[in-house]
Symmetry: D3
Subunit: 248 residues, 6 copies
């Protein structure tokens, strides 16, 4: 169920049977010469919707701009500052907790969001405590990265080995190829891509990773890979959501 296609009366009904909501969060950032700028949001949104269908849960609108400051040296990137994203997430949680939601399952498509989102959870638990909203002490948030699903991770390693890299990876590119076959891009990719993991500021990042990739070879991506990754991620995440919902 997509929140944006529901009415408030349907949400009120839903809350009688479930306190859970799935929130996709991605990023709008460069993904190398062939990766889509929306890759992280596209992947998170598609998987979240799959999980929502599989588990009969509400899916919120996607937070499509996340924490990608280190990519802002490349045009097309849009990033929130961490302090802004913390307030965004807190505002979401305040609105939804007042309505009765208490289980927040964020499906994330971008490694760069992890630190800030976790910080936002901590900030929000404390703020909700301050507000004395009924049941606010029942609020629980979970951040689940689709790309670290065990099944996904293993398959990516098997298919791509070291060429998976850590940004603009063939696995995420494959997933977008499956979802948007009309937007598969071709561009020459230098064989010697800068690798290693250090990430500092935006100008340093562009010096260090001149075409935007980090050790990856997205030319290995195929739409049919994407389909498999999608299905595995949805399956694994659906189970994780249900456990989150039902475990004390």
């Amino acid at each position: 169920m997509l929140l944006y296609l529901m009415t408030w009366i349907e949400v009120e009904e839903y809350l009688k049977r479930s306190p859970g909501i799935i929130l996709p969060i991605g990023s709008t950032e460069q993904h190398g010469p062939t990766g889509l700028i929306g890759t992280d949001a596209i992947c998170a949104e598609a998987i979240a919707r799959g999980v929502g269908e599989a588990t009969n849960a509400i899916v919120s609108p996607t937070i499509s701009v996340g924490m990608a400051l280190h990519h802002t040296g490349f045009p097309g990137t849009i990033s929130l500052k961490p302090s802004t994203l913390i307030h965004v997430i807190q505002d979401y949680l305040v609105s939804l907790t007042r309505a009765g939601f208490t289980r927040f399952f964020f499906i994330n498509g971008h490694g760069g969001n992890v630190a800030t989102v976790k910080a936002a959870f901590s900030e929000s638990y404390a703020y909700l405590w301050d507000l004395n909203i009924p049941n606010s002490d029942q609020v629980r948030c979970r951040l689940a990265n689709w790309f670290t699903c065990k099944s996904v991770y293993q398959l990516a390693k098997q298919w791509y080995g070291d060429q998976e890299g850590s940004h603009a990876t063939p696995s995420e590119v494959a997933l977008t190829q499956y979802l948007y076959p009309e937007a598969i891009k071709n561009a020459p990719l230098a064989p010697n891509v800068a690798s290693g993991h250090p990430i500092y500021g935006a100008t340093d990042f562009r010096r260090r990773y001149p075409d935007g990739r980090m050790g990856s070879n997205p030319a290995l991506a195929k739409p049919e890979h994407g389909q498999q990754l999608y299905e595995m991620a949805v399956k694994e995440m659906s189970q994780a959501y249900l456990e989150f919902l039902h475990t004390e």
Copy 2:
């Protein structure tokens, strides 16, 4: 052109011929017993994409959660605080101005966003001045509400008269019916809907407008109305965008 389906190299090319970008902004809020929670984001996004196609301009991801604090008494609503939304918009503008964009055309689907977005523009102009980014003094932002397009407004008045109301209006509901025919809702609508315009806090709002509508009769909406409204809005907005882009 949708930013999220482009690569950073394509954006770099685009910037050689245009400094403009279209940014849809909506809201995630109750729209009465039959209106979709995503109405404002759905409308803004669809029209923005239409304008992007018509004018060959980049369209950013939709800001789907806006300033809807007064609707947070109804479940399903998600709102940013004005101060948060100001920071969100400022962060967007900093990222995009650093990349070379200087003309920002926001297509808005929600009256409640207007004040905050305008405040955000002012805050951002000053912040960009502070940063000394080259060309930051060329930055210009415009907020364009699809629902106040002259052609749209006139047609809505002609079709619905006073029953257009000011929230959960038949015109916006019609537009979502055209875009999502599978999500047309039916629910009994009391004939005597609370009307008037005063908006204060969230609990007051729910007392004052118990089913969420403000003077509107969305039962008058028809998908074919929505199509006409969509086409008119795209046409009028496209012209407005081009003028904005080319006028000194």
Copy 3:
């Protein structure tokens, strides 16, 4: 009644009979070669005091510095950032709501304040809800611009036509002439004043409107016009305040 000439005991008495307070808000900004920098604060304050006398209501000290960032390219302008003004207004409302006030009628002298003040109202309603102050859900704020009073607007159109312009207008200059006849200024005014409405950043503003006026001819202003405008504004605003106070 001017708050600053009262004692706290008199305020305590007042609150037994009325929850209302009138808050003048202006700006400190350039008003062209002949307009006073304090024009917007002067007008708002004088009219607010007139309304206070006519309705036996308390008038707070004037917020004399508002949101005028776009005028900061001209010396003498002082502006708050929107985010600062939001906090200022919120702090006012928290102080006064704790004391028992719940009806806040802002009389505004500056178009540039409108967006930020409305955003501040939204932010404050939510914050007051968070605080759980008794009666905070009864709080209602209204922003009333003296220059958009129907009677004022019509008279200005009749007297000045297109030369009313949109900044440093003859009507506001006339009002200050009536109030401060000793400070009537003379300076040469170019006949071809830049007009149009676009407002972006401060450096752009000064380029676009080199002497600070926006399409206006303040040489048309006369003190006796000012008196009539003052009286009409006080009359119309007094009625608006009383309606605001007594309507559910």
Copy 4:
């Protein structure tokens, strides 16, 4: 010269001969059963205007609401939070420094402002350094309390001795009596007023100082005392301002 009665062109001229500006800052807070709520703003404003005349310096609009959180247990008090007041002062300084002012002489009427205003100066020096505004490293701020002028302090001690107290003092009440003889208040004053200096939160303050006074006997105040205090303060402050302006 009052900034609000000047034009921007006059300010531009002024800046060719002086970088200085005088900024009155007061408070809007209870002053016991007979003291005016506006006492601190009234005194600061009147003395600042006197200094402005004596030294031919520009006087800005009064910051009439300051840091008075501890008085918010009494109706009529309006207070900014310290963090808000810091931003207000910083915004003033940014606006005025961009215009060319570099010597900021704050004339203060309220002890409770001192800490926050000094913190604001520190915050602002650093922020101006960050902005790289030309001459921002020449900016100097001074906070001058009229009530600690040596001549004022000595006279108050001589006239009132221990009954001067530390809030709602006869000296400040006398000054308002001189300035607003029409607003002299009478009310019974308990002879045993709570004294001592500790100030904590607002509810504690009202418990501790039930009628709002702190060890003072404002019944000793006389308008003619006020006149003398006014003249002495203006004289001493004018000299201090000129030294501030001219000393390296």
Copy 5:
């Protein structure tokens, strides 16, 4: 070299040969019935000082209060909010970058800090970019947790197995026993300690982990273990610091 025992002239000399500084960061939070509240700060500080000696590097004062909101249900815990800690770290980095430092090596003693500190790095890189401080684009920050040093981790697993747990662990307790043998505590420890990893808000945390431990058996800790862990951590961290300093 401890920064607090140096003069500014010595720092100026140091900067001619090295741009690096080591910053210990811990937490002030409950560590079960026998763990010291300062455990995380004590460990980080001691190891940082050891690394400083081994590498001839400056060590800053310890950030002894970190992000421990989830522990605030237990008395003695002090926590910053994430948004506060972000500003603290940013302020440190601005001060030190202005002085010429560009390599910041944080030695961390608390898992709960990780997310916020990483978010702070991102926020700070962008802010330093905004400020245009010379060399600010050379700034690099690293967060190194002593407890995830490979050698430390392996030894802890070998000694304690599953009883290492994830909070109030025998390894960190051992380290404090080595450093403060006079403060070794004894208290009965229930054998069945709550385990699992979920961390939500503070009241939930105390319900879930009633004595503060998370799956750990600190009774296994011995001072001589602590000594070995200390030595290994210093050795491994020293190498990591030097690599960080010298690698492009």
Copy 6:
């Protein structure tokens, strides 16, 4: 009792007999050619621990970085912005008030902290009121500077006269010499040190006070002076703490 060497259970016990806590706050800033960068934190911490022992009170970890923006022109200085320090102190007070502490006695080693810390107290009282934590209206904070202890001040005047100066004073240097005899520094000190008290921004400060001292001759400092000052400060502060704790 040092908080960092206690367990939460010991704190729980302590709170049954006392609501008081001592919080040392210093600064990390240049102290002239021979003064230690940590001088203010070292002094505050040592005296606070002495007071803690003498009064059987808990001593929190030292806030070792304070408000020293004006010293940031000298390498080695680290400063928080005032707005950051306000949030830090507020976070401390929220954590500790939730646990049951209500008497907060800050022992301060740095004049530059005074304004900000007092502002922080005001901000925090209001915030705690907002939160409705039980007993939050009992919270009382006190800021006590060791260097303005009457006994300390008199002795310093007697020993050093005018050469005490106002920064990098022989008295504070003596205290650090007593505490850290191994870190006594020697450097040539120009006899004509810049004096006077004006403090503006950081670049101005370094121009005005080129070696960092303000009118002081720290060459007069002796470790045995430091010991006497320490003992006097502990004695006087211990009495002040007990009075603070026990007075209504």
